[in-house]
Every structure is written in C-alpha cells, then in structure tokens.
C-alpha cells in the first residue's frame, strides 16, 4: 500500500508541472493583458492615461516580458519562496487574497457537501429498499427537478419569491449589521436562514445523481448471494442493508468524492455571483476576465492539485473500503 501511494505521489510532480504550464498558457492567450482592462476601467470613470503611462504600468507589473519568462518567474517564485505571485486587481500577494475567502468558502462548501451526502445516502437506501413505492417516486422526482433546473435560475426564483412575500432581499450570507458588528449570537438565526438558500440551490443539484447511483448499486447488491447467506444466518435487515450492501454500494460514491475536493475549494461560481456569496468562485471569474494572471493561475493550479489529491484520497478510500482492490494492488 505504501509503495502504491508513494508511486502516485511521485507522479504528481510531472503532472502538476504540465498543468501549470497549460494553465498559464491559456490564461495569457486572450489578446491584451491586465493593464488593458485596468486602464479601460479607470478611463471609463474619467481618468486620462497617456501612452507612456500605459507603458510604465506594463513595466511595473512585469507584463512587458514575453509570457514564457513570466511563467518561469512565477514557477521559480513558487518553488523557491512559496510566493504565488502578485494580484494586480487586489494590489497584494495572491495568497492573502485566497486566504481572505478561504474559510468562508470551506465552511459553505462543507455544509453543502454534508447536506448533499447526508440527504442522498439515506434517500438512496430508502428508495432501494422500497423500490417502486410512492416514496421512491416522490424522492426521485424532487431529485430530478433539482438537477434539471439550472442553479442560478433556482436562486433567482427563490430570491424573487422571498422578496415578494417579505419585502427583503436576502442577498449574500451576511447582512450589513453582521458585517459591521461581527458575528454575534443574535445573528445566528438570520445567518442560518440566509445559508438555507445557497444550500437548497447548490445542494439539490448534486443529490439526484448520488441518489440514483446509490439506489442502483443497492438494488444490485441486494440481489447477490451473500445477502441471502446473511439472511439465512439470521441477520437483521438493518445489518444486511448497512453492513453488507451499503459498503459495496459505496464504491461509485467514493469515486465521486474525488471531484468534490476541488468543489469545496472554489465553491459554485455562477450561483455565488447570483446570490452574492463571498466565496472563491467569483474571485476566479473576475481574475480571468481582467487577466489577473497570477491570481487566476494560482487558483486554477490549486484546483488542479486538489483534483489530483482528491483522486488519490478517493483511491485510498476505495482500497480501504473494498478489500478486493487491496488484493489486486498487492498482487
């Protein structure tokens, strides 16, 4: 097992180098660079820029070098100093920009993840145990609706409905009072209420897939011989479902977790913009639009690393879960 993990970790390095190169190349591909969007935005507000000023700016930001050199400088800084570069938009180093929103992003993403799996697993098991019952159809129906409706549309509909009934627009996770005075106990109910909207919008989109997968896998497992053996031994239905069938059915679910690590980091972008959530996704979008290269590059690089790590972790989890995989690795 250790050798296996070690080999995988070793494979990380060339993969990440390649990814970083591709990311950087693509980000700088659109014509122009950060200075253009920067100058444009300010010029629209009435500021006047001369040609020399623009050249000055380019030099200042280090954007007058060819992009290969910019790339090498960036990589060099990362490796030697752990410095991920400078965000032009925010005027400070990239890492502090990411850290700003990191905690909230993680918190929101974890809550959503727990909601997703916490709802889908029991529902999937229920649907499998009571196949073709009313409950099965009802849950599947809601799951499909949640997946089929685009997230941002659902967010807008919910916000509109809340505005029409209460006259308040619950935009964002924090009200102005909360931002002014910091979090206090009396704000917790409102905070939870505001959390509910992103939870419903983002959470429901993922649950359907998991419900159907779990349901299908469980039905599969219930038809197997060892279920019969267990029943013949006198095991309770509960043991059969949760000890035997579920463990085998979790296989695809655990594989799916590989991608969720990345989602935890960046959160959902479109929904975040619509609901004004201060998470990582919109930061990446703005950085890409204004060609804030180092910020965008770092965020995407981190996501790539998380995908790799997530895959490795889910492989390890699978091996732990299913001894057959362990055995085949060993042999």
């Amino acid at each position: 097992m250790r050798k296996y993990i070690g080999k995988r970790l070793l494979m990380f390095i060339p993969t990440i180098i390649l990814i970083s190169f591709v990311i950087f190349f693509i980000i700088q591909l659109p014509p122009g660079d950060y200075v253009d969007s920067y100058v444009g935005a300010l010029a629209a507000e009435g500021e006047i820029f001369t040609e020399e000023e623009i050249l000055e700016l380019r030099k200042q930001f280090g954007l007058d070098d060819p992009w290969i050199i910019q790339y090498f400088n960036w990589v060099k800084d990362i490796i030697l100093r752990g410095d991920f570069g400078y965000s032009f938009e925010y005027g400070r180093d990239v890492w502090s920009v990411i850290m700003d929103r990191l905690y909230l992003t993680l918190a929101v993403s974890f809550i959503i993840l727990i909601f997703q799996y916490g709802v889908s697993l029991p529902v999937g098991i229920y649907c499998a145990n009571h196949q073709y019952s009313a409950g099965d159809y009802i849950w599947s129906f809601f799951g499909f609706i949640g997946t089929a409706t685009p997230n941002f549309l659902l967010a807008i509909i919910i916000m509109y409905y809340i505005y029409v009934t209460t006259g308040n627009v619950y935009l964002g996770l924090f009200s102005t009072e909360m931002l002014q005075n910091g979090m206090r106990w009396e704000y917790v109910p409102e905070f939870l209420g505001r959390c509910a909207i992103p939870l419903i919008v983002i959470g429901t989109s993922g649950t359907c897939g998991i419900i159907r997968t779990v349901r299908a896998q469980m039905l599969d497992e219930q038809a197997r011989q060892y279920t019969l053996t267990a029943r013949a031994k006198g095991c309770s239905e509960w043991t059969i479902t949760y000890k035997y069938c579920l463990r085998a059915a979790l296989n695809p679910v655990v594989s799916g977790l590989a991608g969720s690590l990345r989602t935890i980091f960046s959160g959902s972008t479109v929904s975040a913009i619509v609901m004004n959530l201060a998470i990582q996704g919109p930061v990446l979008l703005t950085a890409l639009k204004s060609q804030d290269m180092y910020l965008a590059g770092t965020i995407v690089l981190i996501q790539a690393v998380l995908v790799l790590v997530g895959t490795l972790l889910s492989d390890i989890a699978l091996a732990w879960l299913d001894p057959r995989i362990r055995f085949s690795e060993r042999s």
Binding site: Q225, R231, A232, D322
Partner: protein, 383 residues
C-alpha cells in the same frame, strides 16, 4: 428413522408461486415430505424443478416476489409445539394494504388460487402465530442460523468480499450464542479447525478472495454449523467443486453429522452423491415429488418413469464406449399456467392417454416406505 420418533420438520402441501405478466409461475406445486432427526434426506431433480425454492422456503428467505402457501412445521424439541415457519414469514412480510398493492394481491387471488388445495392439519400442536410483525421477525431470526442453517452451491459468492471470513463466521456466533468477543472467536476457531481449515488463526483474518474453492466451502460449512443447528440444508454443496474436493467435503459432512446429531436436507442433481450420502431420497419433477423412499429401494427398484430415466442416464462403470448414453426425451417445461394432469406426461414413455393428462397423480405407497406418484405404477400395483 424409526416411525416412533417425530419428524424434526414436516413440509405440508407447499406451493410457491411468482406472479408474472404472462401468468402465474408455479415452480413448487404441492410438496410434502418429512425429515427425522439425524437422517439425511436427498432431494433430487433436474435444474429448474423447484428444489432451491423449496429449501429457501423452509428458511423463509425467498424473494419478496414469491409467495408461499402451505405449512412448514418445525419441531426441533418434542416437548415444545411445532412452529409454522411459513406463517411467520407471511406475518413478517406484512405490508399495509395500499391502493396500488391491492391489484397485486388480487392477482395472487385471481390466478388459479382455486387450484391450490387447503392446508391440512395433521394433528400436531402448533404454536400460535404472533400477530405482531416484530415478534414474527424475531422468532424467524432465532430459527435461521441457529436451528436451521443452509449452505449454498457457490461458496465464492456466498461470502461478502468486504469482510474477513472470521468476521462473517463470527457474526453467526455473536448473533445466536454469545456476545462476548473473545468467547465467540474461540468458538469460531474451534469450528474452523473442526471443518479442517488448516492454520485457522491466520485464516480467520483473511478475505474470501484469498481462499480456494474447497477452503471456502469448508468455511461455509463452518459458518452453517457453528451454532450446532438441528437441521442443515445443503443446496448442491459440491457441484462447483472438483471431484477430489467433493469427496472430502462429503466425508466432512458425514462426520459432522454423526458428531452433532443433526438432520441434513441434501439437495442435488448428482445421483452418485445421493447414493453415498442419503438415507432417504425424494425425487422432484416440475414442482412435485414424484417418488420417495429409502435410498436403497429407489436405486434398486425405481418405479416412476422419470426416476427410471434418471437412473438409466447415469454412466455406469463397465459400459462400453460405443453405447449411447440414455437420455429422456424432451426438456422440462416451464411451470407457467399449468393444467391439471401429470407434469411428466409429455416426456413419459409409459403414459396412459386420457388419464395421465387429465388427473394429477398423488403420492401413494407402493412398497412400505417407498411411495410413487404415477398412474401406471398404481395400475401395476392393483394388477
């Protein structure tokens, strides 16, 4: 073995049906047999004649799609009244009558329920059936694994690949005997050694995919016998194994039977094993038992045309290479929407037109314990 002792299990008029879109599938159509303590009853028949469903019905572990009618009276202890396992199963599977299940229930009733004969009481005292579902489930679970246990045809898939063998065998002990970890592990190891698994401590922590076929079957036997059940149902335990292993397993089963004093219901389609293992034999065809009796009688003097065909089709030592192997004409028909009459009618070379296709033959004794369900044999008797 003697008529004085009570049978440990008595199956009366067992019918198992599966409603399908095309009609009612009736794999088991009225099966009666008894097993006495300490004896081995062999249940013989081709694939698809309903043997597995019968044996699974005894434990009540058939699919939810199947419904069973009849009585399975289990009486391990003469001092206690018998338990009707089928009624327990029915109560444990009770579901509230929802509007959309009514049609299904009605189907069950409409599809030729009139053809099924009413269950007959023999006069044995029967424990009252609990009205509550929970109580029924509890009683059923107390029987399964402890009083009656089962071993299956393919040991490779009978174990869950996720857990160690030791864990799975141990589970049986912990369910029925003791909850103490160390005590149960000790009992399990003992059993594993008894079935002949070498290096039991090491094997305890290994997974099913690390065992060979024969080892797994031994482990399966260990799991079935660890609680010292009164009845062991062996559903084709050696079919998937090589011949040498087969012999070992069969010997193991015989020795264990002697040691533990349990009865075995041995299901198979291999007549050679039957000859070796069984005291009595029941031959099944198309869901009914067509002939039953002591093994020697059946082998020496098969009555039913089907049994005779079976005996004839076994390759005997000494036959020449160029002699063609005897086989019965035709194949087993599907048990769907069957009409009254002998099931073997289409393939029988001794059939009586007008009688055999109209009237269903019943099991009647022809020679002491030897019973046959055949019009021709009955006629011969009379004559």
């Amino acid at each position: 073995m003697s008529e004085n002792t009570q049978p440990i299990i008595r199956v009366r008029d067992l019918h198992v049906g599966i409603p399908m879109d095309e009609g009612l599938l009736t794999p088991v159509r009225g099966v009666d047999f008894e097993i006495y303590p300490g004896e081995t009853l062999g249940l013989v028949g081709e694939s698809g004649c309903g043997k597995s469903l019968t044996s699974k019905a005894i434990l009540g572990i058939n699919d939810n799609k199947c419904f069973s009618i009849g009585e399975i009276l289990f009486r391990p202890d003469v001092k206690q009244p018998a338990v009707d396992i089928l009624s327990l199963e029915r109560v444990s599977k009770w579901k509230p009558l929802m509007p959309w299940t009514i049609t299904q229930r009605l189907e069950e009733r409409v599809h030729d329920i009139a053809r099924f004969e009413a269950a007959r009481r023999v006069g044995d005292p029967i424990r009252p059936i609990p009205g509550k579902k929970k109580e029924a489930i509890r009683q059923l679970r107390a029987i399964r694994g402890k009083q009656i246990s089962m071993i299956f045809q393919e040991p490779m898939v009978a174990f869950s690949p996720m857990y160690t063998i030791g864990n799975q065998i141990n589970e049986c002990t912990r369910l029925h005997i003791t909850r103490d970890r160390h005590e149960s592990k000790r009992i399990t190891l003992e059993m594993m050694k008894m079935v002949g698994i070498a290096n039991a401590e090491k094997r305890y922590d290994q997974y099913p995919h690390e065992f060979s076929g024969g080892m797994l079957q031994r482990a399966l036997i260990a799991m079935a016998l660890v609680c010292k059940p009164r009845l062991l149902i062996a559903d084709e335990p050696t079919t998937a194994l090589d011949v040498t292993i087969q012999a070992q397993i069969l010997e193991l089963m015989q020795s264990l039977q002697k040691e533990l004093g349990m009865a075995i219901l041995f299901i198979t389609h291999d007549l050679g094993t039957v000859a070796k293992m069984c005291d009595r034999v029941a031959v099944m065809y198309l869901g009914k038992i067509v002939e039953t009796g002591p093994a020697r009688d059946i082998y020496k003097n098969p009555q039913h045309p089907y049994t005779r065909g079976l005996m004839g089709s076994v390759h005997k030592i000494g036959t020449l290479k160029q002699d063609r192997l005897f086989s019965i004409e035709g194949t087993v028909p599907l048990a769907l929407n069957l009409q009254p009459g002998c099931g073997f009618y289409d393939r029988c070379d001794a059939r009586i037109e007008g009688l055999c296709d109209k009237v269903t033959p019943t099991l009647t004794p022809c020679d002491g314990q030897h019973c046959v369900a055949c019009h021709r044999c009955q006629r011969k008797e009379e004559a």
